[in-house]
């Protein structure tokens, strides 16, 4: 990637996309002439690493795309003031309502990061965006339905997941709002972009603006997604899962084990309930709930995605608050239920 300055003549402008398209077609062409399934002769470790990483990417990409599309809608298409007018004025109720936005925009984790960025570019404060970020992957219809399918409406798991997600989101939002200078939690470049974007005149060509936005957001999110997927796969290949799941019956350790499992597996919150269900026979309900609370907020893939927007100090703050809260909820449930 040399930085030779080019004059954008009409012929040169399309070489970039041309090359990208060509690369995709050529690589798929290689594939067309190789067997469609079967072993590749790679060592098992490498092969499993690739299979796991690709499966995370294939599973997450639709949600990332959905999140980016919704963030473009929020940023480019929804007229200025429409969202803002619907929200209460005072900060606490305002954040409480914002934590329910996920019920309208069903983005799970992965999708919530681009959408939270879109909200901040629209002028939402970091505290409000973070409240949305934590709440959306739990308080959204798809997640609630899949959790209900897995665990049923009776029992505490679903209720505690919903209420716990709401409380945790508003707790984190409140802490960020109380921060001396919340903007310091953002990466400087993103913060500068927010300041520039708020109040700037809207583009006249919205479609072109949308396409440019799609390019910009994928440029930021995709490498993060791939790095997150790679890390999740590497951990899966390197650390035997048996050590984690062998301590299911201990009320304290099992909470820690399920939280660690959630943070390393990096499942999408839309579907993690079914995975958790397979542990329901050996793990206590509090541990399952801890898994369902922490997984959507903090995991390997999410940390990679959040790093596109937030500084490390925010991630530490977020992780500490969420881990403590979740562990407390899980332990109380294990003791009481």
């Amino acid at each position: 990637m040399t930085s030779a300055p080019t004059r954008p003549t009409p012929t040169r402008t399309l070489t970039g996309p041309g090359l990208v398209l060509l690369a995709v077609v050529v690589l798929l062409g290689v594939r067309a002439f190789s067997p469609s399934v079967g072993s590749t002769g790679l060592p098992d470790v490498v092969q499993d690493f690739l299979t796991l990483a690709i499966s995370v990417v294939v599973e997450s990409l639709p949600f990332v795309v959905l999140g980016i599309v919704l963030s473009i809608v929020v940023e480019v298409w929804v007229p200025v003031g429409v969202l803002e007018r619907l929200l209460p004025e005072r900060p606490m109720p305002r954040r409480a309502v914002i934590s329910l936005i996920g019920m309208l925009f069903p983005v799970c984790e992965c999708g919530n990061v681009p959408l939270a960025r879109g909200l901040m570019l629209r002028g939402f404060t970091p505290a409000e965006a973070v409240t949305f970020l934590v709440a959306a992957p739990i308080l959204n219809p798809l997640v609630i339905i899949s959790t209900a399918q897995a665990f049923g409406w009776s029992g505490w798991i679903l209720v505690v997941r919903i209420v716990g997600g709401f409380v945790l989101a508003n707790l984190v939002g409140w802490i960020v709002a109380a921060h001396r200078r919340p903007a310091d939690l953002l990466l400087p470049a993103f913060e500068a972009r927010c300041r520039a974007a708020v109040g700037a005149p809207r583009s006249r060509n919205r479609w072109r603006e949308s396409a440019a936005q799609f390019g910009g957001e994928t440029a930021t999110m995709m490498p993060a997604l791939f790095v997150g997927a790679g890390l999740a796969a590497a951990i899966q290949v390197a650390v035997p899962r048996s050590t984690l799941v062998s301590i299911g019956a201990n009320p304290v350790l099992s909470v820690a084990a399920m939280m660690l499992l959630a943070m390393t597996v990096s499942l999408c919150s839309n579907v993690d309930a079914f995975f958790a269900l397979s542990f329901a026979s050996t793990f206590l309900p509090g541990s399952i709930t801890a898994f369902l609370l922490i997984g959507p907020i903090i995991d390997v893939k999410m940390i990679a995605l959040l790093r596109t927007t937030f500084r490390a100090r925010f991630l530490v703050l977020l992780a500490v608050v969420c881990v403590l809260f979740t562990a407390a909820v899980g332990l109380v449930m294990n003791v009481l239920v």
Binding site: V37, F214, A219, L267, T282
Partner: protein
């Protein structure tokens, strides 16, 4: 705008395009199930169809240099900011000679100075910029590597190694899909001929009175995870979402005379080999084992990997 400024956008859009096209391809030839649970196929395919034109449009707009610029932007800073200049870890190779990037740096530097770190701020900023470039390049490498692997390599199932590592024998998996009540099995009316490895494994785990199960005929397909002597575990992966959560389930299989550890082992297929096992359930000859029921195999037949290697 130099071509290097567009590189992150090309990388992001290119990888979206590549993964989406490949997803559609896999769905078309019926192998998407090697990565995700079929219940998410529709959603995945629909958004892949959305992503293809969106990324092509993005490529064209970025190439033309329209980026985010507004012709009437007077200070040359505001929204002309290309969105690809965020300095995340998941970030991208960032060229220091870029005007906007520099002004952002300057701003950050000014803030740092205002807080009273005059001298170190400059060197720290450049060190941070170098780190960022390295991390961005690494992220780009990972992105390209995984994308190319996905496009070029044929999809495969997880190996027996992963099954072992995720402990086939641990009694963690419940009968998530609601297998028949065990008590009913005692009565002859229940049809167990369609039971797979997952169903039997769940039943064996739950049952306290194993006598109801002994003697049941089974015909099962799975792959081999070797055990002791002439015993092995007939294994399938169960997938609730995607391959990352694949949970192995298995049933012990005893071949030969069933004497367990003392056997010759000659009948046991290679690790990872797909087999069809015909036989009957029997009490486990190894009294120290956790599972009290095994399959006493009458016949173990090597087969090709089935088209749908995972259970759901």
């Amino acid at each position: 705008m130099s071509s290097s400024d567009k590189a992150p956008a090309y990388l992001g859009l290119g990888s979206v395009l590549a993964v989406s096209v490949c997803t559609l391809w896999l769905a078309a030839v019926g192998h998407l199930d090697l990565y995700i649970n079929p219940r998410y196929d529709l959603f995945t395919v629909v958004l892949a169809i959305v992503a293809v034109p969106a990324s092509v449009a993005g490529l064209v707009v970025v190439a033309r240099g329209h980026g985010h610029s507004h012709g009437d932007d007077e200070d040359g800073h505001g929204r002309t900011h290309e969105p690809d200049h965020e300095h995340g870890d998941g970030g991208h190779p960032h060229e220091s000679d870029h005007e906007h990037g520099d002004s952002v740096q300057a701003r950050a530097r000014m803030r740092a100075q205002a807080r009273g770190h005059r001298a170190p701020a400059r060197s720290r900023a450049s060190a941070r910029r170098a780190t960022r470039t390295v991390l961005g390049a690494a992220a780009a490498l990972v992105t390209v590597g995984i994308t190319v692997a996905m496009l070029v390599l044929p999809p495969t199932t997880l190996s027996a190694r992963t099954a072992q590592q995720r402990s086939v024998d641990s009694p963690t998996l419940s009968n998530a899909s609601g297998t028949q009540d065990v008590a009913l099995l005692g009565s002859a009316g229940v049809d167990t001929s369609q039971y797979g490895v997952k169903d039997w494994a769940a039943l064996v785990r739950q049952t306290t009175d194993t006598s109801a199960l002994v003697g049941k005929p089974v015909e099962l397909t799975g792959f081999v995870v070797p055990g002791r002597g002439d015993a092995f575990t007939l294994t399938r992966f169960v997938i609730s979402c995607c391959a990352v959560d694949a949970q192995p389930v298995g049933l012990g299989v005893v071949t030969g005379d069933g004497s367990g550890a003392g056997g010759s082992g000659s009948d046991v297929p290679d690790s990872g080999q797909w087999v069809r096992v015909t036989g009957k359930l029997a009490a486990n000859p190894d009294p120290s084992a956790e599972a009290r029921i095994v399959v006493r195999a009458a016949k173990v037949q090597d087969i090709e990997q089935p088209a749908d290697p995972y259970e759901y």
